[in-house]
């Protein structure tokens, strides 16, 4: 029926205070990379966590989440553990917080292989050493004996990547994997992640604040706002012809070096959570193109030619939305 590796339909996540993720649908094919972009609090991490059934206890997940043939919300016990251990791998934002500080790197890398995969300790060690080498961690044998505090952030994130690769998953979830790192290692880690993913043909869900980075590393890019997906498109297409005013806003607000504009290029207002949004389009209060219909009625996600946009005025605005601040200055 469907042969997508990841197929999410109508995903909603509710907290006691209200809805956090609202009717999100997307898919990822085997070997494909999808970037997810959006402001802080837009629900990117929650969406990624729903794919591996790691949402916090107080949250209610509804909708259909299928990953590698599994109905994720329905997984329990041993099946859930095997799914997490073999089908998906997650790379977290801050490796220093996300790797047990009092266990050695070797323990960290080998543990699930030995305990859950029943591999022999020495075999697991050899395997892990080989992968460390591939992700650019030199002197692996010594690293295995070291503790997290003895490694730099960049090195530690490579260890995290190695731990995911060692599990041989079909899908990698990377939640802002470079945000906590210093600028020099950001590029390195990103390059290694992309290279290893391509080499091994793994699918990737890549979360970032940086639309440009997402577009550069992923086949397709999805844009989230207030717990909803507002646009999903082919990365190059999205960059050339943003279909949603919010996407355009993200691109325009990018700081550029040769810009000497006096006006701060920001979309006015603050981002809202899904449950704070009115009945209409969540972005309407901040949108320069909003009309009365936008405030009243929620825009349907409309698909055309592999591009999904949820905007009442998508058809009129198509092709006219600015992609750089210079264009805004000219028009304004």
């Amino acid at each position: 029926m469907n042969d997508h590796l990841v197929d999410v339909k109508g995903l909603c996540i509710d907290a006691p205070v209200g809805r956090l993720v609202d009717d999100v649908s997307f898919h990822i094919d085997s070997g494909e990379a999808l970037g997810v972009v959006g402001e802080s609090g837009s629900g990117k991490s929650l969406t990624a966590r729903a794919l591996i059934a790691l949402t916090a206890d107080g949250l209610r997940v509804s909708g259909s989440v299928r990953v590698a043939g599994h109905d994720v919300p329905g997984l329990r016990g041993r099946a859930l553990r095997q799914f997490r251990g073999r089908s998906v791998g997650m790379i977290f934002q801050d490796p220093r917080a996300h790797i047990n500080p009092v266990r050695s790197i070797g323990d960290f890398l080998v543990e699930p292989l030995v305990l859950e995969r029943r591999q022999r300790p020495d075999a697991a060690r050899r395997r892990v050493l080989a992968i460390l080498d591939e992700v650019g961690v030199s002197d692996g044998a010594r690293r295995l004996r070291q503790y997290p505090h003895e490694l730099s952030g960049g090195l530690l994130q490579r260890v995290m990547i190695a731990s995911v690769l060692a599990a041989e998953p079909a899908l990698i979830l990377a939640d802002e994997p470079t945000t906590a790192l210093d600028v020099t290692s950001q590029a390195d880690v990103m390059a290694i992640l992309t290279e290893q993913r391509r080499e091994r043909g793994l699918a990737l869900l890549f979360i970032t604040h940086d639309l440009e980075l997402a577009a550069a590393t992923c086949d397709r890019t999805a844009v989230m706002y207030a717990g909803r997906l507002v646009e999903t498109a082919d990365s190059t297409g999205l960059q050339e012809r943003p279909g949603h005013p919010y996407t355009s806003g993200l691109m325009v607000s990018r700081p550029s070096i040769d810009l000497r504009a006096t006006r701060l290029p920001v979309v006015p207002g603050r981002p809202v959570a899904a449950f704070e949004a009115g009945p209409g389009c969540a972005f309407a209060p901040r949108c320069p193109h909003a009309q009365t219909a936008c405030e009243r009625e929620r825009p349907e996600a409309r698909e055309s030619g592999g591009t999904m946009v949820a905007c009442h005025r998508a058809a009129e605005l198509a092709g006219s939305l600015p992609t750089t601040i210079e264009e805004v200055s000219v028009h304004g």
């Binding site: 790691l54 977290f92 009092v102």
Partner: protein, 313 residues
């Protein structure tokens, strides 16, 4: 230099300094004490000047302060703790005879504290809801009840009413000693177990909320493995320190509990010696308690270093 060697030698040096400072403090404080032991020795008799002079000479009461301190300290370093005026016996022998009793009591209480404290702390942390609420209430009560009060309550209930345990004494032989020391050890351990329980609970709760636990789950580790290998194992690191300090404080707590149960250990000896103004015994015992206290503390520091890889020597 090897950082380990450096750390240990530094700690040992600190220990020696504190030993001398504490010994000087103890000696000089008791030297200042008014009321001489002579009146005790003579009892109600008034004593001839010759008798008094003889006693003063025997116990070196006329030597200058520093001479006496040096003599005392020198004696201690040779294992000679002086003569008890009341018992007319070597203090070393008096103390030596009672060390096993006190050590057994403190050891027994330590075992109870470690097992019960860690167990209830973990249980409270891992079973939120009524189990946690009940245990926390119990811990607050146990923490607030002084050991001697617990002791008296235990005597009233388990010794007098139910008759399960003896009221007084330390017993002979292993089984009999355990039987005799059970109530005293429980009284001594109550507060410490509650304290350790609280610390264990807080540490475990804190660790449960840490990000690396999420990583372990995300990698498909079973929940019981996540708890034992990542939550509990990490949480026990701070618990080790607190456990050590709690055990060190038992040395002082034993003084009171031994008196409650009339266990003839170092504590009751100290209380009797104070009442009888037997200063030689008091000096030796206080010094022994202080040294034990700081030695345990030092050992705890070293253990902490061993169990937490984040701390460099």
């Amino acid at each position: 230099m090897n950082p380990w060697l450096k750390f240990v030698s530094k700690r040992l040096a600190g220990l020696v300094v504190v030993f001398f400072a504490a010994s000087f403090l103890v000696f000089s404080l008791l030297y200042l004490a008014p009321g001489s032991p002579i009146s005790f020795l003579l009892g109600n008799r008034s004593g001839t000047p010759e008798q008094i002079a003889a006693i003063r000479a025997q116990y070196h009461l006329d030597d200058p302060f520093l001479t006496r301190y040096a003599a005392w300290l020198g004696g201690i370093l040779h294992g000679d703790l002086g003569q008890s005026i009341v018992y007319r016996q070597d203090v070393a022998a008096l103390i030596g005879a009672r060390i096993p009793t006190t050590a057994a009591l403190v050891g027994y209480a330590s075992v109870i504290i470690l097992i019960v404290g860690v167990a209830i702390g973990l249980l409270a942390a891992l079973r939120p809801g009524w189990v946690d609420a009940t245990l926390r209430g119990g811990m607050t009560v146990a923490l607030s009840t002084p050991p001697f009060v617990v002791g008296v309550l235990l005597i009233l209930v388990f010794a007098l009413s139910l008759g399960w345990f003896p009221v007084f004494g330390a017993g002979r032989g292993f089984a009999d000693t355990v039987w005799h020391l059970t109530l005293p050890a429980l009284a001594l351990a109550g507060g410490g177990a509650a304290f350790l329980g609280r610390i264990t609970r807080a540490a475990t709760r804190g660790e449960l909320a840490r990000d690396h636990v999420e990583t372990a789950r995300a990698r498909g580790l079973g929940e019981s493995r996540v708890i034992t290998r990542h939550v509990v194992r990490n949480a026990l690191i701070p618990v080790v320190t607190v456990a050590g300090l709690t055990v060190a404080s038992l040395v002082a707590g034993a003084v009171v509990v031994e008196s409650v149960f009339a266990v003839d250990g170092l504590g009751s000896l100290l209380v009797r010696a104070i009442l009888q103004r037997d200063f030689v015994v008091v000096q030796a015992l206080v010094l022994l308690l202080v040294v034990t206290f700081i030695v345990i503390n030092t050992i705890v520091d070293v253990i902490y270093l061993l169990v937490d890889p984040r701390i460099k020597a």
